[in-house]
Symmetry: C2
Subunit: 136 residues, 2 copies
DNA sequence: TCCTACGATCGACTGAGTCCAAGTCAAGAA
DNA sequence: TTCTTGACTTGGACTCAGTCGATCGTAGGA
């Protein structure tokens, strides 16, 4: 993610201050922020950035594969800058904290062909749920 | 799910026509409906039923463990009457169709203790994504 | 049959996200 | 360097999913 700005320039993106601060926010903390949290952090550096631009930029980063969308609850989507290292998520049912986890098996291998119903299955995402040490 | 009404009565539920039609809608089709779809089907039998009542009843059924909430996209939650047979979901990225699937392994077993960060992990839900035969 | 607490209703409200018309500016051309 | 232009940004209105609360209705017990 560190040379994200270079990769974006290479794809013909016009480099604006808004896009730069959004990329910097995501680059800075490897956490899972909502769009409004990204907006709040971006606005600390560039006070007049709009929510619409944050949504636009996040959407573009997602379709470029630079950022992942995570929807673990029915609430706001979260944006995951750790897109180049495959992983899954462990969510605390108490406080909502999300941690990256790395199971030892690819769950795709556990779905037999007769359970695929003719689908071209390309991805398996696992959400583990439980209580974190603080909430237990 | 067939004697759901009996179980609810046993739990002290007041049996109203609204709760009956919501339970019948869920009982009738083993698909994954949104709250508004449940409302539309319920309203075919009981035209005056309100959205608020459908939301209330679905929420109660979920906390009783009779129905599962599924949030595969960032859109409306879906309600799964198949709560007594553990399974996972296969979602078409094209049209959004959802199918129940049964992997051969429990993904909980694939999460080593050093990847649990002190959490009490109780559940693992897998979402497989791909293209259905029609969308491929 | 009557009573009443539990449930249903409607509409106002919230939160998350989208859309659009109008204004701005990054970056290539000259 | 300045000009030009279309890509980008903005604020606000709007949509969609869901929640809340005051008031009304009724299931089911006495
Ligand atoms: Mn992550
Ligand atoms: Mn299901
Ligand atoms: Zn917690
Ligand atoms: Zn499809």
């Amino acid at each position: 993610m560190s040379d994200l700005l270079e990769r974006l320039r290479g794809r013909g993106w016009r480099m604006t201050s808004q896009r730069r601060v959004v990329a910097e926010v995501l680059d800075g903390e490897h956490v899972h922020l909502t769009a409004d949290e990204v907006h709040a952090r971006a606005a600390r550096r560039l006070p007049e950035i709009s929510r619409a631009t944050v949504y636009n930029t996040l959407g573009e980063l997602v379709s470029l594969g630079e950022v992942l969308e995570v929807a673990t609850d029915g609430r706001a989507k979260r944006y995951d800058p750790n897109a180049h290292h495959p992983h899954h998520h462990l969510v605390c049912s108490g406080c909502g904290t999300i941690r990256d986890v790395h199971p030892t098996n690819d769950p795709l291998a556990d779905l037999p062909v007769e359970e695929r119903f003719g689908f071209t299955v390309s991805e398996a995402e696992v959400t583990y749920r439980g209580l974190c040490p603080d909430c237990a």
